[in-house]
Symmetry: D2
Subunit: 320 residues, 4 copies
């Protein structure tokens, strides 16, 4: 890539809209503020059959977890199990019960996860204008704990771009825009309403499980949404609180037009405060939606309340 | 304690009911099977005002997490933050965005968490009769992943025992029975229905935050439900899928009658397959219920999908 | 590989010598007992010029550590540094000093390391006849702590097999025997004495740094010593206390004759109690020996005193 | 403490000597440069009987490790052991050997350890003048790796201050000076020579094991050397390369005269480049010295080569 012709993201987004200050100088949850009690109540109407779907990928899989290059998959360590009693080391509690215990070592952005609004920034400022130095040693501002304390409940719509394009999963680096999202909605006969949670399926993470890790990471470039001023405007106008996808970064790795890496993290998350939920496995949900034709649902998710965390794992629930 | 007169738990529970085999020989989620689509749909009726509550305690708090003695609180490690760019070490991505990343090391039973049904056992068998040797090196059977893949959605009822007894939190070792639970329901004017998720507040974890860790752990004995054949019978008859409390073990540490440690783990979890959600902070939810008089709500929770895990952290959501 | 024709190691070694009981039923350090005060004193004669060499490979390298497939390289986490003060979070101590702190997460066999004598076994028994069930949850017997409490000091001889064969490093799977070791000694004009520490250079780990990780791990089979009854006899007769090499397993991965994996771990470590020091980088030491012609030296090493550890990292020192 | 009257350490040490630049602008090992080949050779004369002592405290002890408040003791995790084969999960290697593996999570300053010269600083500069910002995210300069690559070999002298004062261990906060060190040498009839490694016993860490952790940490203030310009001058003149003690910080926690915390870290380590080895257990060595009257010995130590580490665990070896 030619760094000379790639603009700084601050330059690229110099006219882009911001929601800073909109919910007060201390706000840390951004566009999730769009999800008030009326939205919660309205979302209940999307529950029609009582079907449930959980959207997290497996975590600490002995066969390996899919994580962004440079991160490391979660590791689970056994602390105690029946072996301790077989080996004569198990504690003898009154009544004699046995138990198993374990521990985990994991990147907080190493599974299906919510980004803190302060996870990515530029020009020395996070979402809502917080100083980038507040990130040192842990997020003093706009950490994932704020999102976790609040919880996320609302009406969500699945947009199945892979299905729209007639393929099991998008190609590496394949892009789409909000117009494709709208086209998917039209094809699926589902309405995207203001303040809906947008759930986009590319099928990409499914290829990790079907094609294997080697193929998945070879020449690694994720497919995804790609930046345009119009797309940002659409998210802004529609007051989208939360973008949920089945890729690690919710957008194409490199914007093919500007060359900027992950510009929607700047435009949507840092500037508008849109919450990002990444790396969901949407395969079962999408298959069910295709079968019963219902693409809207009640979405309930609350990441772990990691104090000062840059993100936290989550297992979102879709209720149809 | 007199170990001589303390019976083995297998002896104590020799006539106790079991749900083994009820949902097939491969079942790993037990009484959560009681929560089918009809229960999910019915639960929506408990959503009346659109208020949300998240029930996890903070995790990886630099001031320390409350964990069972012998376990260790979660630790968060910073991987990268604005300091790296100040020090000249931050990566230079196209477009120039900065970011923060972190990792965690934690006991899987070290925060608000779901126990796997295979977490505790006796007489060499887990829930559904699985061999205890299947726990070695990670739960091959009845791991928390099974619960996490399913998700938990249903009507829940808060029973505020601390409020019933007119105290901010129960004393150490203070016990109560299902009759107290029913008395709380009556006092609160809420009906406990079959297949309801039972959420019990003792206030105990709140004392960790108000009175401090030293006081909390001094002569550590949790208050809680205490074993009786009648209590087990009640859970069985009522087909309770999930017991949620604000203590680490969901029951009094030592049964004052038999001397057995944590017998409800055997009677309810191992034998009946009741899911245990432990260490929730119910203070805000309870205050709101006391104010608006609505003690039932939609409960949505899905622990992390830890492969072979003995438990997994969770941030349950209550929607009123 | 044909498992049908590969014998069980107990069959392969059924007539092999054992040192079990030789140093008492509670011994946990095996052939290191050969290194008594006379050997320590005699070893001082190998110090002639005052040159030092440290033999560990770098650990927790951000570029990655060389570890056996299935293990994971060490990770270092920053706890605090000058960034905390820049960000306003650093503690203010009387007098105002600043400091940096960090932590590590590592496999205990994931760097240059001593194996505990109980690290590998067969037929249900460890070195000295200890029951294999004593390994459950941590080595109750023959842990690395025993070696660490003792320390290792003696005369060592470097045998440079790569140099003998005129190559920078042996090929993958390339083997050699004790006769080659003796040939190297002859070529180097150095005498191998009874109770000498044997230090063997294959150059293999150097290829990790020169050729890169991908090439190193492609079709991974380490070169090394290969099993024969005569080789075992030679170690036994020579009373070799410690075998030190620059490969991860101190022997060829698969014995090409029998098909057995790592048989010298059984024959030398489990049966004779020979201490294994693995994954040293011998490049600087070997270059110096080639230059000054002195291939013997004082060897001083003490792994970390990891309680119940299966192994522990070490940074051995060679003094010429 | 009165912070108003406590000077900044830069003020306290404004006239103190520095060795910055003495060994070049790229030097990272400081006073260890005093230990050249002549010193190594001379040290061999201190080996008279062939007795060995290892000086590390046990690490990852299930009963707990002694660590500075705010740090956490090392934890060892079992990865695999005989239980896996009992449970039917163990891998089946050709020949059928079994093995045990484990991992560790530890503070790098959480056991007997070498401080990197860049571990503590003031006024924005580390040893040799390196910018404090080079510590961000890992020590770019003066990390422990530099010391580990070099290794430490020299003549050492044990000064037993506890014995001098006729007590098993010094009281909390009890101080002594270089004059006491000289008095101990005189009482022990041992000469301290230029460039000797100074090993000081207070007995303090022994009290952790004899009196228990609660007593050890109650009103925690370590005993130790205390600052004076004369003491710094003595270390400078004597060209002491390495200060080794049995406390966590090698000096009294708070200087009772100035109120400054750990001023010798500034005066000796940062300014003079004296290597600090902390938390050795000297009980066996001291008992032996008292018995045979030999207080000098060959000291050999090499911490782990932790890349960018602020410190690294070590198991020093004393050879008499």
């Amino acid at each position: 890539m030619c760094n000379i012709c790639t603009p700084e993201i601050g330059e690229l987004l110099k006219d882009a809209p911001k929601n800073w200050g909109k919910w007060g100088p201390e706000d840390e949850v951004g566009s999730l503020n769009y999800l008030g009690a009326p939205q919660v109540l309205a979302a209940m109407a999307s529950v029609r059959s009582g079907k449930l779907f959980t959207l997290q990928v497996p975590m600490a899989d002995p066969k390996g977890d899919p994580v962004w290059p440079g991160r490391r998959g979660a590791e689970r360590y056994q602390i105690i199990d029946e072996g301790h009693w077989i080996g004569g080391k198990g504690p003898q509690f009154p009544g004699g019960q046995h138990y198993a215990d374990d521990a985990i070592s994991a990147y907080l952005q190493g599974s299906t996860q919510y980004d803190a609004l302060g996870h990515v920034w530029y020009d020395g400022q996070l979402y809502n204008g917080y100083d980038a130095k507040t990130t040192i040693g842990g997020l003093q501002k706009a950490s994932v704990q704020a999102i976790a304390e609040r919880g996320v409940v609302g009406r969500a719509v699945l947009l199945d771009i892979a299905r729209l394009r007639g393929k099991p999963y998008l190609d590496k680096g394949e892009t789409f825009s909000h117009l494709d999202v709208l086209a998917a909605a039209a094809a699926q006969k589902v309405e995207i309403r203001k303040r809906d949670i947008i759930v986009i399926r590319t099928g990409f993470i499914e290829s990790y499980y079907s094609a294997g890790a080697s193929a998945f990471f070879a020449d690694f470039v994720e497919p995804g949404l790609t930046y345009s001023p119009e797309l940002v405007h659409w998210f802004h106008e529609m007051e989208i609180p939360n973008l949920v996808t089945d890729t690690m970064a919710n957008e194409v790795t490199l914007d093919p037009v500007s060359g900027v890496m992950l510009p929607l993290h700047g435009a949507l998350m840092r500037n508008l405060g849109v919450a990002f939920t990444e790396l969901c496995n949407l395969s079962k949900l999408a298959a069910d939606c295709a079968e019963d034709g219902q693409y809207d649902f009640l979405y309930v998710a609350a990441p772990l309340k990691i104090v000062q965390g840059t993100g936290a794992p989550v297992n979102p629930v879709a209720i149809k």
